[in-house]
Each structure stands twice: as structure tokens, then as C-alpha cells.
Symmetry: C2
Subunit: 353 residues, 2 copies
């Protein structure tokens, strides 16, 4: 079922619409459709909605590719994709595969989004496993990229090396970073620290980057959890279990602290007045941490562009997710990643089932 034939040219991709899963996310379809309309109107990005017409309702003038099914947020991903062949997620992925959309965006069931994209678009040649890349804010600089942010709970060293290759290609395509620096998440700076997975990956990344020409990135060694905000490396590589825990720990702690701060601000009339003075300065900073402004996570290693937006995405989050999808598609993200990925050496450990 995966892609047949050539990938569309950049010129073609720029004309193709971004396929938006109108039924994905806690605020679907209302905020999703509104965000899609806004990015189409305000930014001139071509968009097509995908969903069952009776559930989507008013499309606000946008085109709709009609389908009959929806995979629920809490539905089993693999089963959902297998059974619901006419779901908004599966159909959105098919539009990309068939050259009718430049990219797909969904704020729906993350596992089902990955499965739809993987099964319909297919893996890029040589990719062992696709991974999720999530931006981490670095106040005033381009964000760092965390890979894998949750696609693969179990990983091999060969997979992590590919995550580094793909993450670096993404940093280049999205942020224009030349020869991105790559760090490996561990529990100490020394190459001897961490799990066997981390230690072996450290060796492979050092060898690959040390080989010089063609690595596409610079390896800066191990990073620790405290280095995630702000990251000294452009790309942070880890397995999807650790990456997901770390990412959610960051999100949770920032939200906790912002909430606690807002509580303090509301203590009395005096603190409220003081907060009014500070808020214009604090809000732009807070905005950099807002998931709705980061444009969502990118699935890397598949033959197409797929943006996975937060389940809680509002219209603004959708605007940014569609922008990122369109920019990455028209900057040739897939070609960048395809060129960056090298098949693992044959002596590498087998991938767990």
C-alpha cells in the first residue's frame, strides 16, 4: 500500500494542500477547522480537511475529502488503522502517498497517526524505525530537537544512530542549521556512563562523526537531563521511553511553575498590580514554552511529511502545525532525511520484535 512512483517536486508540493485530520484532537472539529481556515486565509497555505461531512459540519469554506470513519483518541492504534480503512487518519495519509497532499497534520490518536503514516506512506529506504522529533525551546534561539520523543519504547544502538541522522536532517530542513551538533542523553558526561544501549550508541556516534565527511552532524558526547532546557546541542538523541518521560517531565514542571506563579500573582491587590507590570514581559517568554506555538512533533523516517500535534491543540496550535508541515514539505524534508539515513552496519544487534 505504500508509495508507488516518484515523489512530487518541490514546486508541486508548494501547490498541493496540507491534509488536516478534521476529527483529531480534544477540540475537534471546531478548533481544528477554525485553525485550518485561519492558516489558509492569513498565510495562503493550501489546506484540505479530511473527515465525515456530518461530523465535521461547517467547513468554513475549506475543501473536504469525505470519509466515513474516525479513529477515537483512546482506540487501539494498530487495530484502529487495520479496521477503519475509511477513517480520516488513514485517508489523510493516503492523500500524501498518492501525491494529492504535501503533508498531513493530526492532533488525534498519536499511535494511530504514526501507524497510518507508516503503513500508507511507508518507511524511507534503510530506515529501521521511524521516530518522533519534538522541538525544545531555547529562548531567543532556534529550538533544539529531541529524538525519539516517544515512538519507540525499545531501541537498539543502530536505531539511535539513525535517530541522530534523521534529527540532524530535520534541524537542517526546518531551522536551517548547518552540520547540527548532536548530544546523547545519559546520566553523566563520561562515555562510560549509562545503559549498555547508551554506551554502545556513544561509540557508534563518535565513530560516525569522527569519520568526517558525510556524517551531516557533529557529535558532542553525552548530555544530562539538566541540559535539556536550554540544550547546548541542536539535536538530543535518546530512546522513545526516556525521551517521552523527559519531555513530559519538562512540560509538567513548567506548567506547575507557571500555575504556582499565577497563584502568587493573584494573592492581593498589591500583587495583582505588580503582576500587571510584569506580565507584558513574562508572556512572550511563556509563549516560547507553549506547545501550541511549537508546531507539534514531526514523524521522521517515513516517505512523506506527518505532523503530530498535541491532543489538546486549539486553533492556534493547528495554525502552527500546518505552517510547520507546509514549510517542511516545501523545503524537501523527506529528501533531506532520505539522504541522511544510512542503513545500519550488518553486525549491529537485531531490532527487538
Amino acid at each position: 500500500l505504500s508509495r508507488r512512483g516518484e515523489r512530487p517536486s518541490i514546486e508541486t508540493l508548494a501547490r498541493l494542500p496540507v491534509a488536516v485530520d478534521a476529527m483529531g484532537g480534544d477540540k475537534a472539529p471546531g478548533d481544528i477547522v477554525e485553525g485550518a481556515r485561519r492558516v489558509a486565509t492569513d498565510d495562503g497555505i493550501p489546506v484540505v480537511l479530511v473527515g465525515p461531512p456530518d461530523l465535521v459540519g461547517d467547513t468554513l469554506g475549506l475543501d473536504l475529502v469525505a470519509c466515513t470513519e474516525v479513529i477515537a483518541m483512546d482506540e487501539d492504534p494498530a487495530g484502529g488503522v487495520r479496521r477503519k480503512k475509511d477513517s480520516s487518519l488513514v485517508r489523510a495519509a493516503e492523500l500524501v502517498r498518492d501525491g494529492q497532499a504535501s503533508a498531513m497534520v493530526s492532533a488525534g490518536n498519536t499511535g494511530a497517526t504514526m501507524a497510518s503514516a507508516l503503513l500508507r506512506m511507508g518507511r524511507l529506504p534503510g530506515v529501521v524505525r521511524p521516530c518522533i522529533a519534538t522541538p525544545l525551546p531555547r529562548l531567543g534561539r532556534t529550538p533544539a530537537v529531541l529524538v525519539d520523543a516517544g515512538a519507540n519504547a525499545e531501541c537498539t544502538p543502530a536505531m539511535l544512530v539513525q535517530f541522530a541522522q534523521m534529527g540532524a536532517a530535520y534541524a537542517t530542513a526546518r531551522f536551517g542549521t548547518g552540520s547540527p551538533s548532536v548530544g546523547l542523553l545519559s546520566i553523566g558526561e563520561e562515555a562510560t556512563k549509562g545503559t549498555p544501549l547508551v554506551k554502545e550508541t556513544h561509540k557508534l556516534l563518535a565513530a560516525e562523526a569522527g569519520a568526517g565527511a558525510g556524517a551531516g552532524f557533529e557529535f558532542v558526547g553525552n548530555l544530562e537531563g539538566r541540559d535539556l532546557l536550554p540544550s547546548p546541542a541542536d539535536v538530543i538523541v535518546t530512546d522513545g521511553f526516556t525521551g517521552n518521560v523527559a519531555l513530559k517531565a519538562l512540560e509538567g514542571s513548567l506548567r506547575f511553575l507557571f500555575d504556582a506563579m499565577l497563584g502568587v500573582f493573584g494573592t492581593n491587590a498589591e500583587t495583582k498590580a505588580a503582576a500587571d507590570v510584569l506580565l507584558p514581559y513574562l508572556l512572550p517568554m511563556a509563549a516560547e514554552f507553549e506547545p501550541e506555538n511549537t508546531g507539534g512533533a514531526m514523524l521522521l523516517g517515513i516517505d512523506g511529511v506527518c505532523v503530530i500535534s498535541h491532543g489538546s491543540s486549539n486553533a492556534t496550535a493547528m495554525v502552527n502545525a500546518v505552517k510547520v508541515a507546509y514549510e517542511c514539505a516545501t523545503r524537501g524534508l523527506v529528501e533531506h532525511v532520505a539522504a541522511a539515513v544510512r542503513p545500519p552496519a550488518p553486525e549491529s544487534a537485531p531490532v527487538p520484535a
Copy 2:
């Protein structure tokens, strides 16, 4: 070399001094000795310093157990402990083993502190591996306890079950929590989410807690990274790799945000005046996040009390670390943990070498 004979009674422990590694930490010996003096003077807690007299210098009137060596912050832990038998760390651990100190405290080389305590005091019967318990703040409530915060990069399900048992005993001994709630750190709420390690541990913890009487804790299922601050469970169980990454991610993000906030406060005269109004309300909150106020991490599963303080510990951090060490020793932490730990079932997977 491990303990011979009976443990001292609570009455005896209350009279024994806490052994403080005078040479451990970035600010040793100055801040370490000052903190020890302060807690002895202000809180009446008996303290003894351990270190080479010429390096320690002025003991501010405290007793000093003289030794000749120091294990450096960046020295190989196992090698350091093996070679430097007359180091402050090894001698401090021996004082506890020999019933001459109620507990030991060090802000020095974490690995060497663990190795000294483990080799000199010995493991409690049935304990597969000791673990590190670190408090996580929950504004206005007793902190939650994260186990393992970094002692064991590689773990088996049987080890994680023991971490739950020991972490619950610690929450009870230190914070008075009756039947603590235990959560398992994973990447989704469902029992089917996570690595094989997490999935198997989930089963074992559910079976143990479900067996009713004697578990000593209530199992509340999986938690995610976003649940770490504030944790809905009294104890959060994870492997030492994930725990260390998550803990440092939290520390780093909070420091990042506090620093960014302070930067905003200093923007101009108006923001400085507003900050002056808010700081008296913000500082108590910030204090709850300060590692210097949490009393450091506790090594659990050994036959003695050993507090591992942050390498950056100042005098205040040492005051709190000594307090926690003394309180835990005199509340019978070791007996609590010894009673809580059950040997793993014989069919459990073997411990990695």
C-alpha cells in the same frame, strides 16, 4: 567487612554523632564544616567530622575523626574506595558500621559514597540492589519520593518491586505517610504501555498490592513524566537511568525558568519595583524547589543511614542533610526498610551483571 552484631537501639542512635565527610563537595571543607557546626549548635544534633586534619583546617570546635586520604569528586568510585581505605568516605561508613555514628552524610563523589556505604555497611538481607530515593516537592504537602534516582542504570522487575517496598518504607519513616501510594513511571496510563521492564513490573506491583495485608503500600498504576511535579503518588518507581534523567530534567527546567524570570524582573526600574512586591511571595515557593532545602538523597537497602547531598551543597544544605540523616536514623529507617523488603520470587529474571 560489613556489619557484625546487633544494630544500635534508637536510644543509642540518638546519642551517637552523625559522621560528616568534611572533604565531600564543591564547597568542602569550608561550607561543610560550617553547616555541621551550625546544625550541632542550633539543633543540638551530635556531629563528628571525618577528614585529614591538615586539609580540613579549623573544625570550629567539632570533633574530627582523622584520616589520611580523600576520594576526589571525579575519581573512579569503585577504584577510589578499593585503593583509599583511609579516605574520609570509607572511614565515615566504617563509623556507622562499627556503631560509632548514627549515620553518614557526604556531598562528595556520589558513586564513591554509594560504594563506601554498600561495601562497609553491607546490604540488608534480601536486598538485590540498593537504590537512591530523592524527594520531589509538592507545594504545601510532604514531598513525594522518587526511587531509583540514579544508583542502577540497569534494572530488573524484581529490583523495581523492591524499590517500591523500600521507597514506601522511607516515605513512612521520614514523612509519616501511612500505606504510601506507589506509582510506576511509564509513557502512558495503560498497563500495556512502556518497556518490557515496566510492563512486567506493573504486573508484579499490582499482584503484590492486590494481595492485601503486608504490602505496605497501595499501587496506583502508571504515572507519566508530567505527573512528577506535583506527584499524585507518594512514591514514584523507575529505573535509575530514567529516574536520573527525569530528576535532572526537572531541576534544569526549574532553574532555567527561575533564571529567565529573574532576568525579566531586572528589565527596568518599573519591573524591579514590581518584583520587589512579588518576591516575598515567590521566594518561599522557590525555596521548596531548592535542592539545598530537601535534605539530599537517601541510599536505601543498606544496613545504615547514608545521605548523599548535592555536590554543590552549601552550609544550609549540610544543615538539612544532617537533620534528615539524624531524623531517619532515630526513627528507625533501617529497621523499617529491612521489614519492608521481601526477597524476589525465585522465578524472577536474573540480575544483569
